[in-house]
């Protein structure tokens, strides 16, 4: 499919998820959600308020909303890759019901319905009005983005509570309220009891009134300077106790506020600390350790995931980690603690993480020791993440781990740690130097492919699209060549075959991926294979898979 209006519209109206890069689509989705919520509220208001005066306003809003929904439905129908499938989807049927009911209600005054008796007309109106309420169900179409927004809101709230120590402040305010209220009542009762004995003492009248007693107690608690004093001995003792409690409470409150302000000033330009309630964190990237590569890795991950994934950095020096770009670090949190401590990892939400990256410890001088420490952290991370190699059925850890190494690890480490990739930059650099001397022009290509930016391509692994299963590598290449919706170059296949009873993936590049020689037929692609593609973003690579799947 070429880059037509239909294709552009399709991409614009795609439901947003964590991988989406299309910012226009992002805002359009948010706009439509806002419209659905606002119009649903408008319907509620219409019923709740006396709308005789504002009937025209509500009618105009309803017409506008119904027209937008109609346009949206038609645009989706036009852009759909499989229109028949689109029309029969339950969410599309709901869309249509909402649009038709709204438009029919609007058009009713202009329709010739004289033949209908009043009761039938009222019933029809009621049914259509009920259908109008169904528009709130349209939010199901946007459940992914709404979930995303909900998670982000919860994390933001948790961070706010933690940063401004709101629970502690609230606790102090509650204690203050309880003490002031209890103190006022106590003084009131004590003074009233004494005034019953000494009827001739007019001063008792001040604390004999509950409102005055409360006001004086507040002043005693906050400033201690109150010119009205209880006259009874017991009352005076109570006042002293209230004064002492006030000194403690106000001291604590002031200290909390001052320290929050000071910490805020101190932490300007530093990464936000992870709030204690981290259960909301899900599918985040964990970076275990911090060294000179941290900033660039955060930038690359931010670009790779279009800035839509949370990143948590676990390091003993976490409070001192600096922000270099507020935009890039908007979703980055730091957690103080050693990455080899399972409790710290648990706090960082290791079991719900999407990926973990282990960085070398810069405080260790020897490269071999750095590598050993990195391996230990990787093992701890997998164990803390719920992986137990000794139990059958949990052979695979829940997430992939990438470990920075100074030397290529031996087979033992690779065997023990499954779903773990060891990145040895110096080893690749050695190979690159050799390659660049022999093939000088290739340097730019490798530089281009190893960088993650919006302007460069990367190599991705993606599932075999449904309609290419059973096809040869050559046919798949042609399919990708002639599909201009997303530019993808197919360069190889990762095939998983059973070798000695165990599944072994093998990377086959170029013509090797045909799995053939001159005499045999090409080996067809299987569902469990993975394609190696050059694409400019992960979303593009996966979008193409989905596109092929939908065509099917």
């Amino acid at each position: 499919m070429h880059n037509t209006l239909r294709e552009k519209l399709y991409r614009l109206l795609l439901p947003i998820n964590v991988q989406t890069r299309n910012s226009a689509g992002y805002w359009l989705n948010f706009g439509l959600i806002g419209l659905i919520v606002a119009s649903s509220l408008a319907i509620l208001l219409e019923f709740r308020l006396d709308i005789a005066a504002d009937a025209t306003v509500f009618q105009c809003i309803d017409i506008a909303v119904a027209l937008v929904f109609l346009l949206e439905y038609l645009a989706r129908l036009y852009a759909a890759r499989n229109r028949r499938a689109f029309v029969t989807e339950w969410i599309s049927i709901l869309d249509l019901v909402v649009v038709i009911s709204s438009l029919t209600l609007i058009a009713m005054p202009f329709l010739q319905l004289e033949a209908w008796d009043g009761l039938r007309l009222i019933r029809l109106q009621r049914i259509l009005s009920i259908f109008r309420f169904f528009r709130i169900l349209r939010l199901f179409r946007y459940k992914e983005i709404m979930h995303l927004a909900w998670v982000r809101l919860r994390i933001y709230w948790a961070s706010l509570l933690y940063t401004f120590r709101i629970p502690q402040l609230l606790g102090l305010f509650v204690a203050f309220g309880v003490v002031s209220f209890a103190g006022a009542w106590l003084l009131y009762w004590t003074e009233c009891a004494n005034s019953a004995v000494c009827q001739d003492a007019p001063v008792f009248d001040h604390f004999g009134d509950l409102g005055n007693a409360y006001w004086s107690t507040l002043i005693m608690l906050i400033s201690g300077i109150e010119d009205k004093e209880p006259l009874s001995i017991v009352g005076r003792i109570e006042a002293v106790v209230i004064l002492l409690i006030g000194m403690i409470l106000i001291g604590q409150l002031t200290a909390q506020i001052v320290s929050t302000v000071l910490v805020r000033f101190e932490r300007v330009g530093r990464i936000r600390m992870l709030p204690p309630s981290t259960r909301v964190f899900k599918d985040h990237i964990l970076i275990l350790g911090a060294n000179e590569h941290l900033d660039n890795i955060i930038r690359q991950v931010w670009t790779a995931f279009a800035g839509r994934r949370y990143i948590v950095v676990v390091d003993p020096n976490a409070p001192n980690l600096n922000i270099t770009d507020p935009k890039v670090y908007a979703l980055v949190f730091a957690l103080e603690g050693h990455p080899s401590d399972p409790l710290v990892l648990e706090r960082a939400g290791i079991s719900r993480a999407h990926r973990a990256i282990v960085l070398s410890d810069p405080t260790i001088e020897e490269p071999e020791q750095q590598d050993s420490r990195s391996l230990m952290i990787a093992v701890t991370a997998q164990l803390a993440g719920g992986f137990d190699a000794t139990v059958d059925g949990s052979q695979e850890p829940p997430f992939y781990t990438s470990v920075q190494m100074n030397q290529v690890p031996g087979h033992v480490a690779k065997h023990v740690l499954s779903r773990t990739n060891f990145i040895c930059g110096t080893h690749i650099a050695e190979q690159l130097i050799g390659q660049f001397v022999l093939n000088p022009q290739a340097s730019d290509i490798y530089h281009h492919l190893t960088q993650i930016t919006d302007e460069t391509n990367e190599i991705y692994l993606t599932d075999v699209p449904q309609d290419l299963v059973g096809k040869s590598f050559q046919e798949a290449q042609l399919a990708f060549l002639h599909c201009d919706a997303n530019d993808i170059t197919l360069i190889g296949v990762v095939r998983t075959d059973e070798v000695d009873g165990a599944l072994q993936p093998s990377i086959l590049l170029g013509a090797d991926a045909n799995g053939t020689n001159d005499d045999t037929a090409p080996r067809p692609l299987r569902r469990e294979d993975q394609l190696l593609v050059i694409a400019y973003s992960e979303a593009t690579a996966h979008l193409e898979s989905r596109h092929h799947g939908e065509r099917q």
């Binding site: 990438s402 990739n421 690749i428 050799g434 000088p440 290739a442 490798y446 993650i452």
Partner: protein, 343 residues
């Protein structure tokens, strides 16, 4: 063969000339500046590649870092074993950067590349020394080009920190390899495409028949002249339709004069200083199409856009993946475009 002590300059030059032999042998050599634990592995990679192509192995000259008069003084593992006949170590000379006589001696006609490795003994200062050495070599190369018309010396520089790339930009150093940057990029790439490092490892490891990236220039008067005037899509389709084609076309590069675009400050500064005299820049187009789409999406109407229907021109370089470069070039010269739609 080693240079045991700081001999006189003339003796050193004579020794280098003796090592390199007469110019007619066709023996190629690579010069390494600084010995490093990485040096044996880099040499092994190069030897493996030469072996797979049945070519004569390179000879290697290693300019030792300051403070080391001979290879015996170097820490263990800094030089490859069993290369005595093909390896000459020369001590670093203060004249290396100041005067050009030693450089002239080592950059004979058979020079393939100068590889400046990061000096492991200098820690954080290694990049500064690598940059100084690169400056000296690039200046010498430019001077040679101007005075004798000798070809540019291909320079590869290894840096620790990517932040120092900027210092080499104006020098027009051919290739900068930054291990730190590679680590960062690969860690991030592995994060969303687990296992991708193995693909790079496979692409870069030199074994017979291993697939790797290569380029080839198209010339109107060359054996691939018949490909000019056709689109990238047509050529790709023709290659794919070839049974078990020994290459996969991935893109192309195209040269543009600098004057045609916005001023390239680094280039202009370098040119003004006489460090380079290259008036062209090159666009690398891998996986054509997305650049034009992204440019259009962002409203950059002036940005050059390439897609699959870009017509190949004279001087363009094809970017392809191959396991056998010679077979790939032969395939390109035999490829039939007349049966492809739109031709």
């Amino acid at each position: 063969m080693t240079h045991a002590s700081l001999a006189s300059r003339e003796t050193l030059k004579a020794q280098i000339q003796r090592f390199l032999g007469p110019q007619t042998t066709g023996q190629e050599h690579v010069v390494f500046v600084h010995a490093s634990p990485r040096l044996p592995r880099v040499i092994a990679e190069m030897d493996a590649e030469r072996l797979t192509k049945n070519l004569l192995p390179f000879s290697y000259i290693v300019v030792l870092q300051p403070g080391y008069a001979s290879q015996e003084q170097l820490p263990k593992g800094y030089l490859p074993m069993n290369h005595a006949q093909r390896l000459l170590c020369i001590p670093f000379d203060s004249a290396f950067a100041a005067s050009h006589d030693i450089l002239q001696a080592i950059s004979g006609p058979g020079i393939r590349s100068v590889v400046i490795l990061a000096d492991p003994l200098r820690g954080q200062d290694a990049d500064a020394h690598a940059i100084i050495a690169a400056t000296a070599i690039e200046k010498f190369s430019t001077l040679q080009q101007k005075t004798t018309g000798a070809p540019d010396i291909h320079t590869v520089v290894e840096l620790h920190s990517s932040a120092n790339r900027i210092y080499l930009k104006s020098l027009h150093v051919d290739t900068v390899v930054c291990s730190g940057e590679l680590t960062e990029n690969l860690l991030a790439q592995d994060c969303f495409s687990p296992g991708i490092t193995e693909v790079f490892d496979k692409l870069l490891h030199q074994t017979p028949g291993a697939w790797h990236f290569a380029t080839h220039a198209l010339r109107a008067d060359g054996p691939h002249g018949h490909l000019l005037g056709h689109t990238y899509r047509q050529l790709t389709e023709a290659i794919i339709r070839t049974h078990n084609a020994p290459l996969i076309l991935c893109g192309f590069t195209r040269k543009f004069p600098y004057e045609a675009h916005a001023p390239h400050l680094c280039h202009l500064t370098a040119k003004k200083r006489g460090v380079i005299h290259n008036d062209q820049q090159t666009d690398l187009v891998v996986n054509p199409g997305h650049m034009s789409r992204k440019a259009a999406e962002r409203g950059f109407l002036l940005k050059r856009g390439y897609d699959k229907d870009t017509v190949l021109q004279d001087q363009d370089r094809l970017v392809f993946m191959t396991g056998d470069r010679e077979a790939a070039l032969q395939c390109l010269s035999q490829v039939r475009l007349d049966k492809i739609k739109g031709t």
